[in-house]
């Protein structure tokens, strides 16, 4: 059946042939030109690329709105923490490379644990239950302190060794995380273009019709949860080892929301979208915190003065309604601390208004949004 294969849109081999190798090679050069804080920032971006790609399978491919994705991230991280932290009651001194598959397995089991009870749920109801599930896992980690050491957390989690080198510097972590993200991106792209991917796409569009086509919706929905969870678990294992310390506070609802925002802002179902989304949602807030950024912003005193004049004018009409921007020399630092979330939130709203399909939508989704506008002529013979 050569026909069947040749017509699939952008097969992974096509994609990987030129665009991706160039992009990956460019990424590998970055540590040679930027300072350590930038590399550290990019490690976090890479970690969230992995998480975003995982959630993309659940939300972007299968259309299952999961607001508790942090649970799988936590499952991976605590697998690593519990089995390697000297403070853990079940420390087993296992190697990172042994825990990696174990963490992925445990996370995907947690995924099935969530998936089974929510199978009949759709849309908003699914979102609410998964939201609760994420919180349950976090509360479990806090309250079962005999096992997890509760809020004290688990520290001194060891780092992986590869070919005799300990992955200890930011640069080494950076390459490590690129390798992991590429592997995950490759796997999810292959899944998307497979028979499984088409079943997910059908379920996302219309679950009843998918079932009427002969798709075993139960099986494929569970598979989507388990696959997404496995990737979340992988991210968790890497995160625990990179940070070296985990506590329940790191696995709050905010993580689920960040990852979901990455997927939506970037463009659901799209791999480049996840990368762009992570850079914006994870990278930009960190860049705003850099000393260099503060120093840079401090140069724009004239902009501050202009804004202050404007605010003063508003104040004259509506006395006391609005404050003034802080002094020029502290503006950058203050901006980074106080107002960055406001600016950031406004930017996100703007992105969604201007580009509802995301910054870099998948080719499928681009068509879907594009063709929503001109109504198809009815009854053209």
């Amino acid at each position: 059946m050569p026909d069947r294969v040749s017509r699939l849109p952008s097969t992974p081999t096509d994609l990987l042939r030129f665009r991706w190798p160039i992009f990956i090679a460019l990424c590998c050069l970055i540590p040679f030109v930027v300072s350590d804080v930038w590399v550290q920032m990019l490690v976090f971006v890479g970690l969230f690329v992995i998480l975003g790609l995982g959630l993309n399978v659940v939300v972007g491919f299968a259309g299952l709105l999961d607001l508790g994705y942090v649970a799988f991230f936590a499952a991976g991280a605590y697998t690593m923490g519990l089995l390697t932290s000297p403070g853990s009651p079940i420390d087993a001194h296992l190697s990172f490379w042994l825990i990696l598959p174990l963490g992925i397995l445990i996370a995907s089991l947690v995924g099935l644990l969530l998936g089974l009870p929510v199978l009949p749920l759709r849309g908003d109801y699914l979102a609410i239950v998964t939201l609760g599930f994420g919180e349950i896992i976090r509360l479990f980690l806090i309250n079962r302190d005999d096992l997890t050491r509760g809020s004290q957390g688990l520290s001194a989690i060891p780092r992986p060794e590869l070919f005799g080198y300990e992955i200890d510097s930011f640069t080494r972590w950076y390459y490590f995380i690129i390798a992991a993200a590429v592997a995950v991106a490759f796997c999810t792209a292959r899944l998307r273009d497979s028979r499984i991917g088409r079943a997910w796409e059908a379920i996302r569009e219309d679950e009843d019709v998918a079932a009427a086509m002969g798709v075993n919706t139960t099986k494929y929905k569970l598979l989507a949860f388990a696959t997404g969870a496995a990737i979340g678990g992988l991210g968790g294992v890497i995160y625990a080892s990179f940070i070296g310390f985990i506590s329940p506070a790191a696995f709050s609802l905010q993580v689920s929301i960040d990852v979901l925002a990455i997927v939506i802002i970037g463009g659901m179902g799209s791999t480049p979208g996840v990368i762009v989304g992570s850079l914006i949602l994870i990278g930009v807030p960190r860049i705003l915190q850099f000393r260099e950024t503060s120093d840079l912003l401090a140069n724009f005193g004239w902009l501050r003065d202009a804004l202050n004049a404007l605010l003063g004018a508003i104040d004259a009409v509506l006395p006391g309604s609005i404050g003034r921007l802080p002094a020029a020399e502290t503006w950058g630092a203050r901006l980074a601390d106080d107002t960055r979330f406001i600016i950031f939130g406004a930017l996100l709203v703007l992105v969604m208004v201007l580009r509802p399909s995301g910054l870099w939508p998948s080719s499928r989704r681009r068509l879907e949004f594009a063709h929503d506008e001109p109504p198809a002529p009815v009854n053209a013979p």
Binding site: M1, A202, D208, A211, A212, M213, G214, V378
Partner: protein
């Protein structure tokens, strides 16, 4: 023995019982139509037969096998395809991929079936790479039927194929349904367009408020006074 045997089927949604114990038979090679007004339970009957909703009671036997407790994907594998109301085209999948979805349960060669669908609906062949959502209403209906045929069904359930189409297109669709029957498939057709449905049907059932009130051959029902008054728009 009929190909499809429905006995005392009950189905509904939540507290609403839309189908209150109906029985009907479809014999191999027949076109059978189920006519009735809006909300009479036509679509619910089809959905319960194909397993998209779980029947509340009664028995459904297809080709000698009980199917009323089976999952929809298992029912498709037995050779029963359902073209849902509103066509259910996957908008973001291309026309070709929609056809592939129809063959989801198959693991043998499907090229011959693709050719057959192209032959029935030449327009689809011209639009293979177009997303399903960009087709016109009539083309979407053709795609929905073509997609269902890709599973090589013994029995095809068609839910309101004429809905929202111009009279010319309705004519085309009904001709296709007859062509499909000539090629060996059996058809259970649900329609509000009773006139057209009775014209091509061997036998027909009239459903009212979830119950079968009349049945007979197509021509006999189209002569029936009650049917003429209620569904054929005659005073």
């Amino acid at each position: 023995m009929p190909l499809l045997e429905v006995r005392d089927l009950r189905a509904g949604y939540g507290a609403i019982i839309a189908v209150k114990g109906i029985s009907l038979d479809v014999n191999e090679g027949e076109i059978v139509t189920l006519i009735g007004s809006n909300g009479a339970g036509k679509s619910t009957t089809l959905r319960a037969i194909s397993g998209v909703i779980r029947p509340r009671g009664g028995q459904v036997t297809f080709a000698g096998q009980r199917i009323d407790r089976l999952q929809p994907h298992a029912i498709v594998r037995l050779g029963l395809s359902h073209v849902p109301e509103g066509r259910g085209i996957f908008h973001s999948l291309s026309v070709y991929e929609n056809l592939l979805m129809g063959a989801y349960t198959r693991d043998d060669a499907i090229q011959a079936d693709l050719e057959r669908v192209y032959h029935l609906f030449p327009r689809l062949k011209e639009r293979l790479d177009q997303p399903g959502g960009t087709l016109s209403g009539g083309e979407q209906q053709m795609l929905a039927i073509g997609r269902a045929l890709m599973a090589r069904p013994r029995l095809l359930l068609l839910d309101e194929p004429s809905m929202g189409l111009s009279p010319v297109l309705v004519e085309t669709i009904f001709e296709t349904i007859q062509a499909i029957r000539r090629e060996g498939a059996t058809v259970l057709l649900v329609e509000q367009n009773a006139l057209m449905a009775l014209e091509i049907a061997d036998r027909a059932y009239v459903i009212e408020s979830g119950e079968i009130t009349l049945s007979g051959t197509g021509p006999a029902l189209s002569r029936d006074d009650a049917v003429r008054r209620a569904y054929l728009g005659e005073a």
